[in-house]
Symmetry: C2
Subunit: 448 residues, 2 copies
C-alpha cells in the first residue's frame, strides 16, 4: 500500500480543495491514482472520486479491489452509484451488480438509461464461465460501405463509449458479422481515403459462440494471438467482444484450478480467504475421504501380511519410505503430464513416447535412490543380504509409480474425464497398495 | 490437425498453380491458413509460403510450431530465409535464431539490412527472463509537437512496420519517454486536428526497466490492465515494448512452474517431450532425494519405537493411513496458500486469518475422518477402546498437517524463499515424522 499522499489527500478533503483534488484525479495514470488512495477508507475514496469527471471516475474506481467496489456501490447515494455504474464497462458492472442486494440493484437500474438497463439484464442471463458471461457489448460495429475516412470519423464519435478499438467489426444491416479491420490497417490506409471497409476487411473472422466455454475462448485467443475475439450467436449476429484482460484472468483461473486439482482439492472458484469454511471443508473433504479409503485398503493389505511383518520386524521401519518414494515419483510424473497436456505440449497420441521416456527416467531415478536406500538399509537390516530387499523394492516401486503417474492422466483424458482431477488420488491409491504388495513379495522371495 | 485441404494443396503445388496458391495464402485468417497446412511437410509448406507477399508470409509462418519454424529457417535457401527473418517481429526472430547453428545465422545476418542486424544483436545481449528478452523494438515513437493530424499521417507511414499500435509513445529528441497517447484517444480527437500530442498525452507512464524480471513485467501489465508496456533503460530512454501475448505466455509459464514446484519438480523450462532425459532425471532426482532423506528420518523414528510396535503389532497396519492423511491434508493447505499468494489473494500480513481459518477447517476435516477411521479400526484393533488410538491420532495429525501446510509457505515467503519450491518437501517431511511421534505417544498414553 502506498501511503505517501494520504496526509495531503485528507487535508485536501478537509478543505474541500476542489482545484487540487481535481488535479490529483487527473494527473496520474488511473491505476496509480487508485493505488495512492488505497489507504483511505471507502467514504473518503468516494468523496475524492466525485472530483473526477464521470468516465475518469469509473476508470479509477475499476482499480480498487472487487470487494471495496461492491461496498462502495452498495452504501453511497443511489444517484451517484447509478452515475458511476453507467460509466463502468458492461462486463464489469454485471459482475459487480451480482453481489449487491436485489432491492438496491433495482434502485440503481431504475436510474440508468433504458438501453443500459436492457444491456445489463441481457448479460446477466448468460451462464457463468461462458463467452456470454465474459463479453462486453461495447464494440465498434461499422457498415461495409464506409470509406476509410468515414470509418475514422465514425470511430471518433464512438471511441469515447468503447472499451477498446484495436479491431473494427464490419456488420450488415442485421448486425451479422461480415468481416474485421484492424485499427492498424485503417491507419495505414489513410493515404487511400476512398477505399471502403468492405474492400479491405478480412472476411475469415475467428469468433466464438456466446455459449462457448471460457477455456475454449482463452485457447482460441491464445492460438490466434488476438487482442479481442468477437462473440456471435448461432446466426452469426455480433453480440459483443471478449478482451485480452479477461483472457489472462481465465488462463490464470484455469491453471490455478489445475494446481488445486493436482493437490486433490475441488477447485474453490472463490477467494481462498473469502470462501465459506463449510464449503472449503467440503471441497477438501470429499477428496480426503476418497484418499482415505485408498489408504484404508493399504491398512487391510498390511494386515493381510502380518505374519511376514512379525517374522521380519525390521521391514516395518521402511514402510513409509517405500510408500513415499512411489507416491512422490508418481505424483511428479502425473503433474508433469497434466501440465504438459494443459499447455498442449503432450497430446493423446504421444502416449508411447511419454511411457518410453518415463520408463528410462524411472530406471535412472530408481537406480539412484535404490543405491542410497541400500546404504542405509545395511544399518537397519540384520544382514547385508537381507538389506537387499530395500533397493529391489525401491527400484520396482519407483518404476511402477512413474508409469502409473504418466499413464493415468492420459487414460482419463482419453475416456473424457478431467486428468487433473482424477489422477493424483488414483496414483496415490494404486501406488501405495502396489508398493506394499511388491515390498512383501520381494521380502518373501529373498528372505523366505 | 486439419487435413481438409491437403489433397488440393498438393495438387496446386504439383501444377505450380500460382493464382490458386496466392489466393489460398491470402483469403483466410493467417492462423487458419497455417492450420490447413499443418499436414504438409516442411518442404511443401515452404513452397506454399513463397506464394504469399513477404509480410503475410511471416505472419502465417509465425503460427507453425516453434520447432518447425527453426527447421524451415535452417534448411532452405539462405536468401529466402533472410527475406523471411527480415519480416518476423524483432522479439520472435531473436528467439528463433538462438536455436539455429551459428554459421547459418551468420549467413542470414549478412543478408539483412545493417539496422536489423544491429537490432538482433542488441536484443540477443539481454539476459533470459528479463524485460529486455521479451520486448520488441518495433514501437510507434512520435514527437511531442506533432498535431493529431500529423500524428495520424506519421502513424500511417510507420504502421506497416509495427507489430502493434494500441499506444503511441511520445519521446523527445533523445528518445526519452515523455508520455503516452492511446490510438483510441487519437481517433476520438479527430475533430480537433490541431491539438498536439504534448497537450493530450498522459505523462505518468507505467513502464518497466529493461533489466526487470519477466514476472514483474507480467504483474504490472495485469495490475494496470495494459495492452503493452514500454521498456526503458535507467535513463528513461525508450527501448521497446512488451505486448500482451508475451505476457500471457509469462503468466502461463509462471503458473506451470508453480504446479511443478508444488509436485517437487524443479521447473523444466522446456517442453516435457523435448527435454533431455538426463536433465529431466536431474530436475526430479534432486527433490526425490531430499524427500527420500525426510522419509529415512521416519524410518529411524519407527526403528526407535520398535518396542511399542512389537507390543501392539496391529498399529503397524495403520501407519500408511496416518501418514497419508497428514500428508494429503497438509499438501492441500500448502497448495491453496501458494496459489492464493501467487494470485495476490493472500498477502503476508494475512497470516493470522489464514491460520485461524485452517484451524477450524482442520478440526472439521479431522473430526470427520477420525469418525470413519474409528469405524474401521474397531475391526482391526483388539478392542473398541484400543481402537480409540486411531481417531485421536488422525485428528491430531490432520490439524498439524493443515497448520504446517498453511504456515510454511508464508514463512518461506517471509524469509525470501520461493514458497512453491520449499513447502511441499518440508510439509511432507515434518508431517510424516510428527505423525509417527503423535501416533506412538497417543498409543502409549491410551494403551500403556
Amino acid at each position: 500500500m502506498n501511503t505517501l499522499f494520504l496526509p495531503e489527500l485528507r487535508e485536501m478533503l478537509a478543505d474541500a480543495n476542489r482545484a487540487e483534488l481535481e488535479e490529483f484525479c487527473d494527473a496520474l495514470n488511473a491505476g496509480r491514482t487508485a493505488e495512492f488512495m488505497e489507504g483511505l477508507d471507502n467514504e473518503e475514496i468516494w468523496q475524492v472520486l466525485q472530483y473526477a469527471p464521470p468516465d475518469r471516475r469509473a476508470e479509477i474506481f475499476g482499480y480498487f479491489e472487487h470487494e471495496r467496489q461492491v461496498e462502495m456501490l452498495a452504501s453511497h447515494p443511489v444517484e451517484q452509484a447509478a452515475e458511476l455504474v453507467d460509466e463502468i464497462s458492461s462486463d464489469d458492472r454485471v459482475d459487480l451488480l451480482q453481489e449487491i442486494d436485489q432491492p438496491r440493484v433495482e434502485q440503481i437500474l431504475q436510474l440508468l438509461p433504458a438501453e443500459d438497463r436492457r444491456d445489463i439484464q441481457r448479460l446477466q442471463s448468460y451462464k457463468g464461465e461462458t463467452a456470454g458471461a465474459l463479453m462486453t457489448t461495447e464494440v465498434a460495429m461499422l457498415a461495409e460501405n464506409l470509406t476509410v475516412r468515414e470509418a475514422l470519423d465514425e470511430l471518433g464519435r464512438q471511441a469515447s463509449e468503447l472499451e477498446t478499438i484495436y479491431y473494427l467489426y464490419v456488420v450488415d444491416e442485421n448486425n451479422q458479422l461480415r468481416g474485421i479491420v484492424s485499427t492498424r490497417q485503417l491507419v495505414s490506409r489513410l493515404n487511400r481515403p476512398s477505399l471502403t471497409l468492405g474492400e479491405m476487411m478480412e472476411s475469415d473472422v475467428i469468433s466464438v459462440l456466446v455459449t462457448d466455454d471460457q477455456e475454449h475462448v482463452a485457447e482460441k485467443v491464445e492460438r490466434f494471438n488476438l487482442l479481442a475475439i468477437p462473440v456471435v450467436d448461432s446466426g452469426r449476429q455480433l453480440l459483443g467482444i471478449i478482451t485480452h484482460d479477461d483472457v489472462i484472468d481465465v488462463v490464470r483461473e484455469e491453471l490455478e484450478e489445475d494446481a488445486q486439482r493436482i493437490a486433490a482439492v475441488e477447485p474453490l472458484e472463490q477467494d481462498f480467504l473469502r470462501i465459506a469454511l463449510m464449503s472449503l471443508s467440503y471441497k477438501r473433504g470429499i477428496w480426503l475421504i476418497i484418499l482415505f479409503f485408498a489408504a484404508l485398503l493399504t491398512a487391510f493389505a498390511l494386515r493381510h501380511y502380518d505374519q511376514e511383518l512379525e517374522t521380519y520386524a525390521w521391514l516395518v521401519a521402511f514402510i513409509p519410505l517405500i510408500i513415499s518414494a512411489g507416491g512422490n515419483s508418481g505424483s511428479q510424473s502425473a503433474t508433469l503430464v497434466i501440465t504438459a497436456m494443459t499447455s498442449g505440449d503432450v497430446k493423446l497420441t504421444d502416449w508411447p513416447q511419454v511411457l518410453r521416456r518415463e520408463a528410462i527416467v524411472s530406471l535412472i531415478l530408481g537406480g539412484f535412490l535404490a543405491s542410497i536406500g541400500y546404504a542405509f538399509a545395511i544399518f537397519l537390516a540384520p544382514s547385508a543380504f537381507d538389506a537387499l530387499v530395500i533397493p529391489f523394492t525401491l527400484l520396482s516401486v519407483i518404476v511402477c509409480g512413474c508409469l502409473c503417474g504418466a499413464a493415468l492422466p492420459i487414460m482419463f483424458k482419453r475416456i473424457g474425464w478431467d486428468p487433473a482431477m482424477m489422477s493424483n488420488p488414483f496414483v496415490a491409491g494404486i501406488v501405495d497398495i502396489l508398493g506394499i504388495v511388491i515390498y512383501i513379495n520381494i521380502a518373501r522371495m529373498l528372505l523366505g
